[in-house]
Symmetry: D2
Subunit: 345 residues, 4 copies
Amino acid sequence: MTLPAGRSKALGMRFFSDNAAPVHPRVMAALAEVNVLDTAYDGDRWSKSLDARLSALFDTDVAVLWVPTGTAANCLALAALCPPHGGVVCHRDAHIQNDEGGAPEFYTHGAKLFLAEGEGAKLTPATIAAVLDGIVDDVHRVQPHAISITNATEYGRVYTPAEVAAIGALARERGLGLHMDGARFANAVAHLGCHPADVTWRAGVDALSFGFVKNGAMSAEALVFFDPAQRGATLYRRKRAGLLLSKGRYLAAQVLAMLDDDLWLDNARAANAQAQAIAAAAAGRLVHLVEANEVFLRATPDEAATLRAAGFDFYDWAPGEIRLVTAWDSRADEVARLAQAIAAL
Amino acid sequence: MTLPAGRSKALGMRFFSDNAAPVHPRVMAALAEVNVLDTAYDGDRWSKSLDARLSALFDTDVAVLWVPTGTAANCLALAALCPPHGGVVCHRDAHIQNDEGGAPEFYTHGAKLFLAEGEGAKLTPATIAAVLDGIVDDVHRVQPHAISITNATEYGRVYTPAEVAAIGALARERGLGLHMDGARFANAVAHLGCHPADVTWRAGVDALSFGFVKNGAMSAEALVFFDPAQRGATLYRRKRAGLLLSKGRYLAAQVLAMLDDDLWLDNARAANAQAQAIAAAAAGRLVHLVEANEVFLRATPDEAATLRAAGFDFYDWAPGEIRLVTAWDSRADEVARLAQAIAAL
Amino acid sequence: MTLPAGRSKALGMRFFSDNAAPVHPRVMAALAEVNVLDTAYDGDRWSKSLDARLSALFDTDVAVLWVPTGTAANCLALAALCPPHGGVVCHRDAHIQNDEGGAPEFYTHGAKLFLAEGEGAKLTPATIAAVLDGIVDDVHRVQPHAISITNATEYGRVYTPAEVAAIGALARERGLGLHMDGARFANAVAHLGCHPADVTWRAGVDALSFGFVKNGAMSAEALVFFDPAQRGATLYRRKRAGLLLSKGRYLAAQVLAMLDDDLWLDNARAANAQAQAIAAAAAGRLVHLVEANEVFLRATPDEAATLRAAGFDFYDWAPGEIRLVTAWDSRADEVARLAQAIAAL
Amino acid sequence: MTLPAGRSKALGMRFFSDNAAPVHPRVMAALAEVNVLDTAYDGDRWSKSLDARLSALFDTDVAVLWVPTGTAANCLALAALCPPHGGVVCHRDAHIQNDEGGAPEFYTHGAKLFLAEGEGAKLTPATIAAVLDGIVDDVHRVQPHAISITNATEYGRVYTPAEVAAIGALARERGLGLHMDGARFANAVAHLGCHPADVTWRAGVDALSFGFVKNGAMSAEALVFFDPAQRGATLYRRKRAGLLLSKGRYLAAQVLAMLDDDLWLDNARAANAQAQAIAAAAAGRLVHLVEANEVFLRATPDEAATLRAAGFDFYDWAPGEIRLVTAWDSRADEVARLAQAIAAL
């Protein structure tokens, strides 16, 4: 391929985000493996195998759709759980509220997000109930139809099975659906060491956005319905959103490769471990407990500048706060240098 | 990658659709080439180079967005050209009307498609005007805001620059935008032998869905705005639709590889040539003039069964009519056998 | 009230439309009667009595919502019967297709209208099935979820109970909802002389837009659900559409006054009778059989001009065709003069 | 009219809401006055006179549309000022956020409401800027396009011309539209004693929902655009929302009657005066300064019960807080008894 004119700027040691990491070699190999003529859309044998593979993983019958982005997975799930005139409770720092450009409103045709509180971007039954109890049950108020939680959260915190189950119980009690944004589900499960079922359907989750792109895939996420009946209309919504790629086998292959020999868990463990290494060097500066692959640190502008001058790239998150994200391919040597640099601040 | 349980059924010689063909090796190579850490979304150097590359190709300043499907490209274009309360004139057999699951209505928030006539799925100024003239200008009627044409059409017919220009003139006269669905734009240009500008912006086209997936790419199409000002809001709409992939460089790379050394034209010429070979053997059966890579034939159910028994796969299109589509990788030997089989019916 | 500056132009004898007629004195009296403090929205005793009154009329339990326009009634019904990704079969000349400014698409969030044929704007099981059978059952095609018919039709034709029942049977067989646009339901029932149940729920109709505005009311229509369970979400949709008027008792009162002593039928009979008087004078010119209160005549431009010169106002409908509409208050003397004028052409 | 079966429950002295009050006799008279045949929709002479009448009132050229509800007025205004992918800053207690059942999201096709703080439900440039400054300018965040303020606010507080002008200046500086929800605009102007222009267009307001229903009308509000160019698309949106009533003259007449001899101001002054009478008796209990026609009082459940036992009806607003609303027809004797009852608590 002809390179673009000009030179790419030299890239530093990047801790911006796991969603910029390269694609794992086994995923690339899987793309090559399916590079043969087959049925279009999701009629190919690889796409057709996803239900069985993920049903085996979750130890229950699930219905699975591949989609190219986490935003698409989240919003198709919300559209399945909430009508246009309803609303969804989520954390005020949730990705669906702040980072999806209004996609939840687009996909649900204008459902409202109700913003709830919680430390580390984790909702609790109490903070959810506080929102729900403030919503009078009449036609003048948008009524709640679902709850959406993120595991691991936007601040790298992890819900335990018990914590999810408590929210699941509230959801059932109030007649609400429960969605889990699992853009970093792998990191959460790797941290918990639990069975993936324990933190999802056994805890009351109805739909999971199972993320792979931040964890080594190229362009495939899996939307998992624990009630297979919810797939029907979602197939139409996916097509209607322009998300039914013609050559779906290249998405299915990514998911399958990530599942093979638990690559999804290995990659997440690797990323989590590097985050722990950073956290260990920055104990006094941690804004949030480090449980997955994100590290939020207190750092003055001068300190941030010092780290950048040393070749580390990352986001300023809030005044006096920076975010460092590790990925499946974070290099131990770079992380060690980063840890030293932080310790030396 | 672990193969799905069971065996894939033996695949025959497939003339179902070009959208099921494998990915061209040079596109696969490009994916490997960009498989390095870079900026997420469309901030990478490859994505950033698309404007320049396509401006050079079209000999004018264009604004380009990659998207993963042709449906997405079409519908983002329509959303840019038509407000929710407006309408778009298209052929009654247009892909946006019949094959996108209501995506135009989703993206435009309910704009109406006005269905016009025309031989071979080609609109003409007269058939468009017939629709427009039937729409009284008052608030009780949805008002037209744009025209959408497909080149090559759903029946493999090609608009010439003069034909597009005549429609472009009508669009200007009536104050309407003009969109071209170019899912098979390459096949059209390969047939015409013209400069791609001649059949687009020089003929009055405002937005082009420039298709690559049917022509050897994996999952990348280019939405090309000939008025770069239309990109602004579209960037927000693309994100809002869940179409802003995290790792955009893998889409940009596909487009760039297709443009390198005119691979897009070479692939289209190859597909068109195979279609001609079929057409030559089926002259008396042709439903539509064969100009691109689709061949529509009259064939009785028995004749269709005979062809299938000989190992050829294809769609029944209408009673007594079958559709055969060639692709960039159609094998001359298989096409020759198909041609013989047709001639022998 | 201070009159607007300037003079209203002298009004001729108007046969434009029944929707411009004045309000019946008994409706005006009802407005005065409810002009006391009561509960807002639909919590007043008059609004609350609508279910019982219309259940009695229809001889079955119905759920009723008042709305201020027929468009609102139609589109809330469609939204109850069809999801955003679905479609509704209607006649190509249906009001919902041509005269509601895209309201069906707005209320349904972009459902598609499938246009079917039929003489006098009447659908038949055959014309509906012709559309349905052309829709392949896959995600690329919008799938039908409902049928909408208009009784009396846009051309003043009336479906009999048997005709509706045949369509109702098809709807059940195909799993589709059935909506009746009854903007001129009163005129249809007056013509048929049947029980209103016979041409609605007993014939398979799920939802009826029961029109009063064209028949002597000011601003109230009744949306009638024959399955009361469909009211729930519709209450939210009505509010969300800005249609829940604060002082609902003034709408309920109109409906109640129209039902009292069968004013709705008396008014419709009056209008129908005047249309018959015109039709009798124009037998050779009738474009459609006159069954309700609309008369479509063949008339040259010169003939139309002659009628206008004589003081009659009406719409040109199509080249060589005019439309004359009678209303509850059409004056027999004016109609007689019109009949004479037509006969004299 | 036949009364509904059963008896209406005896109504107490109602201070629930001004939106349940009866219609002013002069408005009723105006309805009778227009009860003649005229052109349908908004083609009648009364509807056509609204622009001139309100242009005179506001001392500038305005474009006016009647609508039947304040929700409709608000949401058509928001749809004119904000695209589907944008957002609107409003107070977290704003009617558009809490009491319109998601209508803003319906009309704008999913725009997001950004919730800002402010005492008495009044926004300030500082609280608005705090929200705006937290919105990073990239495609992942919904971008603000407009600000909506309510005057008088949901707590009966009034923005002065200077306060609105400060917000208007911020709106201009940030390129945002400015909408005023004037459901109780009359009460605000009556309180301020200013020219209506001073608190609207001269202060930077682009669109005003000018409320009449809470102030003595039956079913008509005026949506006023200070930039007449914004009417064009709104006419289509109004029809598309099912809000274009067939007999618009009955809405226009209400607005005209309310403007005649400043009935709108007289009614508002009357309501405000009664609120002051209540406030004077409850000085130590006031939650909000009383400036319009709403009084929010601290009252224990026992105290509230005492008032109810004395025959007064009102809403519990928050724990330990009740809301009393006066209307154009509040009776001085009932208000005096209420004041005494409050003083005696």
